[in-house]
C-alpha cells in the first residue's frame, strides 16, 4: 500500500528554512515539494465503508424513531407550555404528523370542531408528575366550551381514585373576568380539582371547541393558562 502523508488538522507555520540553490556550487538540486493530494490512495477500503454503513443505519433509524415519539416540528402553535398542531390529523398535515397519527391511531379534532392543546411540562421546564400538585391558572380564549383532561405519557386517560380525570368549562368555578384556577393533585383539593393518579407520566390535554381562530384566517397562538408546580411529595 502506498504511503499517505499525514495531513495535520492544525496549520502551524513551518520554521523558516532558507534553501539557497546555487547552480554553480551545489551538486544536487533540492528535492521538489509535491502536494500530498497527488499521492495515490485507494478509493475503496473496508474500514471506512463499514463506518459509513453504521452511521447511516444508526443515525437514520434512530432519528426517525426519536422524531416519531415526539411532536411534529412543523406547523406547531405554541403558547407557553401548551403545544397544538392545528393541521395534524387533517389532509393538510405534514409527513411527521401523518406518521405519528397513523402510528397511534389517534382521532383528531377537525378545524370546524376545535383545537387540542397538550402540555407535558410545567412552567419551569420539568416533566409533569402525576404524584405532584400543580396549579393551572389564568384564562383561555373565549369559547363556548373547553375541557381539560389528564392523560398519561401514552395519551391514555388517567385512571384515578375519583373516577374522573377531566373538567369542563360548564362545571368550572371562575371569577367575573373568566379567570380560573385548577388544582391538579392525586388527593382532593378545594376549588376546581382535576384528579390524577398512577405513575406513568402526566400530560394535560386542553380542547377548545368552536374557537373563533379556526374559522378565521391565519394562525396565531392564543394566550393559555400557566402551569406551576405547587408541591411534590
Amino acid at each position: 500500500m502506498t504511503h499517505t502523508p499525514h495531513m495535520p488538522l492544525v496549520a502551524v507555520p513551518e520554521p523558516e528554512t532558507t534553501q539557497i540553490y546555487d547552480g554553480e556550487t551545489s551538486w544536487q538540486k533540492p528535492w521538489p515539494r509535491i502536494s500530498p493530494l497527488l499521492y495515490k490512495a485507494p478509493f475503496f477500503s473496508f474500514g471506512p465503508f463499514l463506518f459509513a454503513v453504521c452511521i447511516a443505519l444508526i443515525v437514520g433509524i434512530g432519528s426517525a424513531y426519536l422524531s416519531l415519539n415526539r411532536g411534529s416540528p412543523f406547523n406547531a402553535l405554541e403558547s407557553g407550555v401548551w403545544v397544538a398542531h392545528p393541521y395534524a390529523g387533517t389532509i393538510d398535515s405534514d409527513p411527521y404528523s401523518t406518521a405519528i397519527f397513523a402510528r397511534t391511531g389517534r382521532v383528531p379534532l377537525g378545524s370546524g370542531e376545535g383545537i387540542a392543546f397538550y402540555a407535558a411540562f410545567d412552567d419551569s421546564g420539568r416533566a409533569l408528575d402525576p404524584q405532584c400538585h400543580y396549579r393551572i391558572s389564568g384564562r383561555v380564549p373565549s369559547t363556548r366550551l373547553w375541557t381539560i383532561t389528564a392523560l398519561n405519557n401514552a395519551l391514555e386517560l388517567l385512571a384515578t381514585d375519583a373516577g374522573r380525570a377531566s373538567l369542563h368549562s360548564h362545571g368550572m368555578l371562575m371569577d367575573h373576568t373568566g379567570a380560573f384556577s385548577i388544582e391538579v393533585a392525586p388527593e382532593a383539593r378545594p376549588g376546581n380539582w382535576l384528579p390524577t393518579g398512577g405513575n406513568s407520566g402526566l400530560v394535560f390535554a386542553m380542547r377548545l371547541y368552536d374557537i373563533p381562530y379556526t374559522t378565521g384566517a391565519g394562525l396565531s397562538a392564543p394566550v393559555m393558562p400557566a402551569v406551576e408546580l405547587v408541591s411534590c411529595k
Partner: protein, 196 residues
Amino acid sequence: MNNLLKKLQDFYISPRWILWGIGGLLVAGIIHVSIILSVPAYVPDSPYDRVGGFGADRIFQVLPPILPRSEPLPDLDPSMRHAICRYSLENGPLIINTYAPTPFWSLGLFNENGQVTYSLNDKTSEGEAVRMLVLTPQQLSILRENPPDDLEEMIVVETDELKGFALFRAFAPSNAYLPQISQALRSATCSDLPQI
C-alpha cells in the same frame, strides 16, 4: 499551549474516514425520510378497519363512554359521548342526519386513514339538525339531473375519498343530560338516499 498545538498537529484523521462519514450521514437522511413516509402504509390496522369493529356500516354506532383502560378509540374527550358511522361511497351517496339537545355537538368526516376531511359544529347549523349529503363528484352530477326537493337545504360534501367514517360528538355537561344525549345519538341516521 505550544504543547497542545503540537499534540493537535500530531492528531490525525484520514480524509478517507471523514468523507465516508459524510456519505454515511447523507444515506442516513435518505433512510430517515423513507421511514417517515412509509410508516402510514405499514400500520397493521387502519382507522377504517378499527371503526368497522363497532358494528355494521351505514348506521351510527354509539360508542361506550370514554373510561380509563377501555377507550374505544385513542384520544377522545371523556366529556363527550360519541357515535360513529362507517361508510363506503361505492354503495351510493350517503345522507347524514344529526342533532343533539346539548350545549355543544359536532360532526367530523374522516377518510380511510383517519384524517379529517370535513367538520362542523352545531353553530354552523344554527342549532338545528344537520342534513349532510356525502357523495363523489360523479354521483353529484348524476344527482343533478334529477335532484331531490330538499337538495338546497342540505350541506353537500363532495369528496374523492370513497371510504371513510363520520364521528358525531355530543357534549354531556352532566349525567342529567345522558338520557337525551343517548337518545339523540341513537336517532342520528347515516343512510342511503331515498329512492325516488
